[in-house]
Each structure stands twice: as C-alpha cells, then as structure tokens.
C-alpha cells in the first residue's frame, strides 16, 4: 500500500489574500494567457451563443406551430434560421464550451501551472469572436441557408454571399479548434506530475485527449472541404459542379469525414465529465476505469470509419453495407461506457446535487439517443427515416440530452472551483426538472412525426402533423424557459452564493486540492496526486481528503 501522500508542501501557507481573490471582471475582457481566464472567456462566450442559438430554436418552433409559412417572410428566411441555429450550436457553442471546461479543469487536474502553450491558447480563443461576427454578418447580405451541412450545389450555385461568409467563419473556427486541440494533447502528455501515469489520469483528461486527437485529425478535412467550397464560390472552380466535371458527393464525403468524428468531439468531453461527476457524487470509484478510458479511444478510432452513413440515400447502393456495419460497431464502446457508469453509481452513496441530477439525466436521455442511433444504422430503416424529424430527434438526444446535460453537470460541478461560490441547489433542481421534461417532450415526439412522414428542414408541412408539432413547440418553450433559470442562478450565485472552500465535493482529483478560485499559478508547490483519481471508499483517501481540508482551513 502506498503511503498517504498529502499535497501540502508550501500549499498550506498559501497567501491568504490571493487565495480568495477572484479576477476582476475586466480581466475577462482582455487578452490573457492564464488558462483559467481563457476557460471562463470560452465558457461565457459560448453560453451567450447558446442563448442566441436557443432563441433561434424558439423561432423555429414558433414557425412550426402551424403547417403554413406564416411567421417567416419566406422559406429562405426559415432555412437561414435553422442553418445559423445549427452552425451556432455546433461551432460556437458545444465545441468551444468543451474548450472552456477543458481549459479550466485539465491543467488543474494535471497539477500544472498552465497549458503547454499559453499564448496559443489565448489566440485560439480570440479567433472565435471574429468568426462569429463573420458568420452573423451574413444577415446583412443574404444569410447562409443551405443548412449547417451546406450541400452543394445548393451552397455554391444557388446561394448568396452569406454562404461565403459562413464558410470563412467556419474556417476560422476550425483553425481555433486545431490550435486548442494541439495544446491539449501536448499538455496532457507532457505536464502530468511524475506520480500520475497515464493510467492514473482523471477520465476528463482521457476524454479531452481523445477529443483533441479527433479534432487534430479530422478538422483539416473540414478546412479542405471549406476551401474547395470557397474556391467554387469565388474563384470559378468546379469541384462540386457536375457541369464542369465536379462531383457533389465529393463535398458530402469530405464534409462527413470531419463532421461525423465531430459528433464525438462534441460528446466525448461530456462523457469525461460524466465519469467525474458520477464517481464523485456517488462516492465510488469509476467502475472499470481502464475500459472507460480506452472506450474513448475506441470511439475516436471507429468514429473515423462511419461517415458515409450520413449518405445512405445518395451513396452507391453497394457501398452502404460496410458503413452500416462500422456504424453498428460503434455502439459497443458506447455501451461499455453506459454500463460502466451504471456500475459506478450502483451500490454507491448518491448525493443528489444538481450536478449529479444532470449527470443522471444524461444517462437516461443518452441511452435513447444511442438506441435510435442503432436504429438509424440499420440501413433499410434508415432509408425510411433519413432526413426526417427522426434524425432531428436522434441528434438532439445525443447533443442536447448528452452534451448539453453534461455541460450543465459540469457547470454545477466546477462553478465552485471557478468562482469560489456554490450554486443555488434548489434553483438547480428546478432547472433540472424543467430541462429534463421540457427536453423529453420536445424531442421524443419528433421520432414519431419523422416516421410518419415529416421531413426535416421544412417550414411548410402536411396538416396532419400539426398536433404533434404543437406539443413539440409547447415543450420547447418550457425547455427555452428553463435556460433562464440557470442564467439567473449563475448570476445570483456568483454574487451571493455561499463560499465554497477548496474542496466542497470532497473530490480526489487535483483541481480540488487548491483554493477556489485557484491562485494565478494554480498551486504554490507541485501537488502530489492521490494514488488513484477515484479511490473513494478507502481510509487512505479519507485521510488524504481530511488532510487537504485541514490545510486549507488553516490557511484561511
């Protein structure tokens, strides 16, 4: 048995003044190379985009209240609405939101003083605001209206200048994503404390590592596709124009070679969050730690072999079968995670904190997205529901029921570390109830309208679907309202929340073994991690946590 290593050192004598000092708000508006500042910058910026994208979703649901085109001035206006909604939610919300938590938490979990490349880190963040401006500038010309997937020739020969701006903005965001990911990979491989082997690394770091590998490998393909699209649009090339010898399926292949792995860029960090939150709040080690870590890598690898299932209705028929098989295989590592998480909470002592509620909500909703994913992989059934509301439902179960619930879990979990104050738990529970049921009744009925015959991306639909759509819209408004609760909670808790202390959840990972918020250098001395990141339930871990508690109590 290893000796109990308590990460005190000079930590115990932390400067009192700095320990509780929060950065002034103005520091968040400036160029900063501190990963904690950058993390918050990412988080606040992407949450603002979440609100904008969410407001657009409300507009979509208002339009769909009736089967006719009435709210929007034209079908094109509606098309640009869901195009920008999707673009914002994917490129400006989920992906940068995980960069937020990755930035704030990963260096702390590794006991590092900062990311490997602090300046690059800041640069990656500051590409996002101009990219957003470029995309939204489209509204002053003719906004992109070919969907976030932007299939040519609709996006080349049949679209206005907003489509060019869209591609430029997406390009910038891709650059940002690649730079951020390289930073994560280098940080995770090089900046762990000597005691922390790769098999003792927290699972969030595993997930961010897998995500970053995907992003570095896949995003250049997006860049390539966007470059071809831009050339077709502005330089008169014909990569996607059949009349000039081009091929529209070229775009679909390259685009999905990025965009399917990108789904895992959006959800793997959430899975990392889940491993942290479920273990800490049920006071039990992660069940099958190695398999959970390895399954992230498995998903990352298999995720590169499934892209053409997005093209089941356009691909040559004989090529469809291999992609059906790879798509089904990816259910296996995902299943390993699901069962491991259930094994983690099984027999634990579950604390129903808001973070835990959202993590449990993730489990409950993500499984539905997983089941519908396997259904979609089944080629003959997919042919029927391809490009319908069934698909809309499926990916919202994965990206909202999965990623967004994980974002909320991460928010409630790490807010005390970021701000030094606790969130309001009662408001958190109310937020959870509204979000969970609002979500469920918004997106579950979409399966049915899709199967019955309603395609996606339409403002005008057959009147027989109106009742379904009204149920969906009403629930969506509840879901939209629930977001306001968490906004209020964050603002209120930032100012009036109870002082959190260093380690309110009694967690073993290193980010909790420093003050909340951490000082500029994160740790005064090099911290010594506990022998395993999730070693709850042993006397050694209890002693470690007690020692940390006392050290920080003394330092106040």
């Amino acid at each position: 048995m290893a000796t109990i290593a308590v990460p005190l050192g000079a930590q115990g004598e932390l400067q009192e003044a700095e320990a509780v000092r929060r950065p002034a708000l103005s520091e968040y508006l400036r160029w900063s190379v501190d990963h904690k500042i950058i993390g918050v910058q990412y988080g606040v910026a992407s949450f603002l985009f979440f609100l904008i994208g969410g407001a657009m979703a409300m507009g979509i649901r208002l339009e769909l209240w009736t089967p006719d085109l009435d709210l929007m001035v034209s079908g094109s206006a509606y098309n640009s609405l869901f195009t920008i909604h999707g673009t914002i939610m994917i490129f400006l919300f989920i992906i940068p939101m995980w960069a937020a938590f990755g930035n704030f938490v990963v260096p702390l979990q590794l006991g590092a003083k900062d990311m490997a490349f602090p300046w690059l880190n800041a640069f990656a963040f500051w590409l996002i605001p101009p990219a957003a401006v470029v995309i939204l500038l489209g509204y002053f010309v003719s906004p992109a209206e070919a969907g976030w997937t932007s299939y040519p020739p609709l996006s080349t020969l049949f679209s206005g200048d907003g489509q060019t701006l869209w591609a430029l903005g997406a390009h910038l965001l891709g650059i940002s994503s690649i730079m951020g990911s390289i930073n994560f990979i280098v940080t995770i491989f090089n900046m762990r404390p000597p005691q922390m082997t790769i098999w003792r690394m927290p699972l969030l770091c595993w997930a961010v590592l897998a995500t970053s590998i995907i992003a570095v490998m896949a995003t250049p393909f997006l860049a390539g596709a966007l470059t071809l699209l831009l050339l077709d649009r502005v330089a008169g090339t014909t990569f996607f124009d059949a009349a000039g010898g081009g091929d529209v399926l070229l775009w679909q292949n390259i685009f999905w070679f990025y965009s399917h792995p990108a789904v895992y860029i959006m959800v793997l960090p959430g899975m990392g969050v889940l491993s942290e939150v479920l273990s800490i709040h049920s006071r039990k080690p992660v069940f099958g730690y190695r398999m959970v870590g390895l399954s992230s890598m498995g998903i990352a690898f298999v995720g590169f072999t499934v892209w053409a299932h997005h093209m089941f209705t356009s691909l040559q028929p004989e090529l469809r079968i291999p992609f059906m098989i790879t798509t089904m295989i990816i259910a296996v590592p995902t299943g390993i995670k699901m069962f491991s998480w259930l094994g983690t909470i099984w027999g634990g002592k579950i604390r129903f904190t808001s973070a835990m509620l959202f993590a449990l909500g993730f489990l409950s909703l993500f499984v539905i997205g997983g089941i519908s994913g396997v259904m979609l992989a089944a080629l003959p059934f997919d042919i029927h529901v391809h490009d319908t509301y069934f698909v809309v439902s499926h990916f919202h179960f994965v990206l909202f029921g999965g990623s967004v619930f994980a974002v909320y879990a991460a928010l409630y979990h790490w807010f005390p570390k970021v701000t030094g104050r606790m969130m309001n738990e009662r408001l958190g529970r109310i937020h959870f109830v509204f979000t969970y049921f609002g979500f469920l009744f918004t997106f579950f009925p979409m399966h049915v309208v899709g199967m019955l015959g309603m395609p996606r991306r339409v403002a005008v639909y057959a009147p027989e679907f109106q009742h379904w759509n009204q149920v969906i819209s009403l629930s969506a408004f509840v879901l939209g309202f629930s977001t306001l609760i968490v906004v209020y909670n964050v603002i209120r808790s930032y100012n009036h929340g109870p002082i959190a202390g260093a380690n309110p959840w009694r967690a073993l990972t290193l980010e909790w073994q420093t003050t909340s918020p951490p000082p500029a250098t994160n740790f005064v001395d090099d911290p010594i991690p506990f022998e395993e990141p999730y070693g709850y339930g042993t006397e050694a871990s209890a002693a470690y946590l007690d020692a940390v508690d006392q050290a920080f109590r003394r330092s106040r």
Binding site: E145, A242, H386, G535, G537
Partner: protein, 442 residues
C-alpha cells in the same frame, strides 16, 4: 465500510431478484411498446414496407429491452443507493468486475452483429433489381422522374406511337401512377440541386444527384412494388415528399403516388385517357394551354387561383393578361408573355429574384418546351384577367406572330387534328383519394 478484497465477481441473491424484476418489466414494457408500432408508421403500401417494418419491430424489441434495462437500473440506483442525510461516508471501493465488463462488451457486440445481419438481408431483398419492371400492357416502359425546384415531374415513355410515328410520352406532373404488383423502377434526375424522392408509405427514398447534362446527367434508381392494403378503396394516393433541403420551397415540394387496384384499372383510369388526350388534343388553344401549363412546374413558385396554385416565390399570375401589355414599353401583351416563358430573365418583376428556369426548345427534360406548347400556354394566360391586353379575337395569328417576332421561330398551330371534343382529360384528372394534399390537384 464494506471491502471486497477478492477480485472475483460475487453475485448476491438481491442482484438475482433485481435481474428478474428487470426482465419482467422489460417483457411487459416491450410488449406495450411494440403495440404502438403500427400507429407510428405510415400505411404499408409496398412489399418493401412490410420487411422494413418487421426490421423496425425487431429494433424496437431490442431497443426496448436496452431502454428498460438501463432506465430500470438507473431508477433502482437512485432509490436504493441514495445517501442518507446523516451519512457522510463513501461507497464501497469497487473498481470493476472483469467478468461483468467482458459480458457487457460481448453481448452488445453479438446483438449489433445480429442486427447487421438481418438488416443486410432486408436490404438485399429490397434493393435487388427485379425482372419485368414498369409493366404496362405486357411490355416494359421507362418511367422518369425529374426534380426541379420545387416540383416533381413524372413522364412515361410509352410504347405507343403518335400520328407522326413518334413514341408518346405521358407527362403526369407531380403524380406517379402505378398499380398493385407493378415492379416500379424509377429513373430519377434532378434539374438543379440535390433533391430526395421519398414515398413514406413505400419506405423508399433516393437522392437525385446533379450530373453533367452533356454526358446524360447522373440518373439514380428507385424500386418498389405497391402492395394491397385491406380495406382501402383504390385508387389510393400516398404523398411524395422532398427530403433533401433544396431551397426556399423545399417544404412545398410534394407530389403523390396514385396506386390503382390492378393493371386494368390503371389502364382504364390513367393510361388510356392520357394517351387519348395526347392523340386528340382540343383544337381550342386556350383549352390546350390549360392542359400544357400543368405539365410544367409553374405551380411550384407561382400563384394562380383558377388552377389552385399556391406557390410563393414567384409573381402571382392572377390577372396577368391585364398587366402584360404595360410591363415593358414597346412589347405587346403576347410578346411580353412569350418572353417571360422562354427568356424569363429578360424582365424580372420588381420584388422578385431571377430564379425562374430557362424553358425552351433546346432544353433537356423538364425544361424542354416546344413552340407549339408555348403558343398554347400563352393563349391560356391571355385569358387570365378581366380586361385582357391580348388580342383575344385573333389569337391564332397574334401569338404565333409574337413568337416569331421575339424568337424567330414559326409555330405550327394545326394541332387538334382529331376530335375536338372535351375529352382532353389529362392524367391528373384521374380520381385521387381525399387524403391527398392540396398541391397534387393540378
């Protein structure tokens, strides 16, 4: 604090009970689930739909078991393993269970392999090319579908010949006509962007891909065989939907599949009347124009109350004849309308954009329009108004003159050789069931 020193899996009696309860709940729950299946799917109007639905049924059963297993374990966990308020302690330091981990890797792997195998079987069975496709009168014919923003056009290349010895082509607009048991094999070609031809009741869908017109385009194929549904009165119409975003009017891009009870009903109500109408067009150019204009996809963008068009992206055609003479200085009403059809970008009505296709005698497929058809269309549009600017008394001269002036093409106006009765019922006047959408009534 419980500590399990051995790494061997231990299975407690409680776990067995819990597992049994799960099983029971899953069986009941899945049964309940599957009873909903027919209610959440469209009618099974094709042979393919039956096998796809059977696959879906299996997916629902397996998915239902997974769903109830996981939600059940979750529910039990949150009830049974809730920490008491006075208990600050940790759970047991269990790190895993290799046996369990192997089980929950192997079993899902076997399940997905099973699903892949049965999906493959259904797929090969449904996508296999069939013999005797599109049989009409004992012969195979070609049925072509053209997708253009925002309407479908179906054409039947028949084996009959017209008076000039040319094969007759039936244009049935946005309706596909077929009969139970016909092995439908469609050749799909888009005129512009990607569209996707989806018939929910048949469970089939295929994208239309832009190709190079100079090399024959890039046709794709779609196959299905309509099947009988008990208790349905034939002919019965089922919606066709565009499933790939194609622009402003994507949601309006619909059509219908009209299924007849058998080949003789198909011949009697659709095929023969359509051929008869082509062989015996009405002599009156206005009547003929009313038929011809509906073979084109004008309804996808324009409004015209007299034909029930509800498009929104193009200028309304109601009362067009009242305005046609004043639009462009120096152009007569006939000349203006002629120009607007064959050279549509020459004058764009203020407030609208240049989106109308170029129709003309040199165009391919859906945009091909003979001068004779243009003549008939103009004759019809000249009647759309209360105080027409056109020379209605003298149409047979004024319109050919306008076409000749603008395009330098002479028009043969001697159609209507046959009987000039009112038998010009085109394809689309075949009975359609009430369930059909309004757009398909053209």
């Amino acid at each position: 604090m419980e500590n399990n020193p051995s790494n061997r899996p231990s299975i407690s009696p409680a776990a067995v009970v819990v597992a049994a309860v799960f099983l029971l709940v899953s069986v009941i729950g899945v049964n309940w689930f599957t009873s909903f299946v027919p209610a959440v799917l469209p009618p099974q109007a094709s042979a393919e739909s039956k096998s796809v639905d059977e696959l879906f049924y299996i997916l629902v059963i397996i998915g239902g078991i997974v769903f109830f297993l996981i939600q059940g374990m979750l529910l039990i966990s949150v009830i049974a393993f809730r920490a008491r308020d006075d208990d600050p302690g940790d759970g047991p330091p269990q790190h895993g269970n290799p046996l369990l981990e192997i089980i929950w890797t192997i079993i899902p792997a076997l399940v997905v392999i099973f699903l892949a195998v049965i999906s493959y079987q259904v797929w090969t069975q449904n996508s296999e090319p069939k013999a005797a496709i599109n049989m009409v009168d004992g012969e195979e014919i070609a049925i072509n579908v053209s997708g253009a923003r925002y309407a479908w056009t179906h054409t039947y290349a028949t084996n009959r010949l017209d008076a000039d010895g040319e094969p007759i082509v039936i244009n049935s607009g946005d309706s596909l006509h077929t009969y139970i048991g016909q092995n439908v094999d469609l050749r799909l070609q888009t005129m512009d962007v990607i569209h996707s031809y989806w018939v929910p009741a048949m469970r089939v869908k295929q994208d239309l891909l832009p190709g190079n017109p100079a090399t024959g385009g890039r046709p794709t194929e779609l196959r299905f065989t309509p099947a009988r549904i008990d208790g349905v009165d034939y002919p019965q119409a089922y919606p066709i939907v565009c499933a790939e975003l194609c622009g402003d009017g994507h949601g309006r891009m619909r059509g219908s599949v009209v299924v007849y009870e058998d080949e003789s009903q198909f011949l009697e109500l659709f095929y023969e009347p359509a051929i008869h109408a082509i062989l015996n067009p009405p002599a009156d150019p206005v009547l003929r124009g009313e038929i011809v204009i509906q073979e084109y996809i004008c309804n996808s963008c324009h409004v015209l109350d007299s034909l029930g068009w509800t498009g929104s992206t193009g200028p309304a055609m109601n009362g067009i004849a009242d305005r046609a003479g004043e639009r462009v200085p120096g152009q007569s009403a006939e000349e203006y309308i002629v120009t607007s059809v064959w050279n549509s970008q020459a004058f764009v009505v203020p407030g609208y954009t240049e989106q109308m296709a170029a129709f003309g005698p040199d165009q391919l497929d859906a945009y091909y329009m003979e001068a004779e058809q243009l003549y008939a269309i103009v004759a019809y549009l000249c009647t759309q108004g209360e105080d027409s600017d056109c020379d209605l008394e003298n149409q047979t001269e004024a319109i050919p003159q306008a076409i000749s002036t603008v395009f330098g093409i002479d028009v043969d106006i001697t159609f209507g050789r046959g009987e000039s009765d009112e038998s010009g019922a085109m394809a689309d006047e075949a009975p359609e069931a009430a369930a059909d959408e309004s757009e398909t009534s053209d």
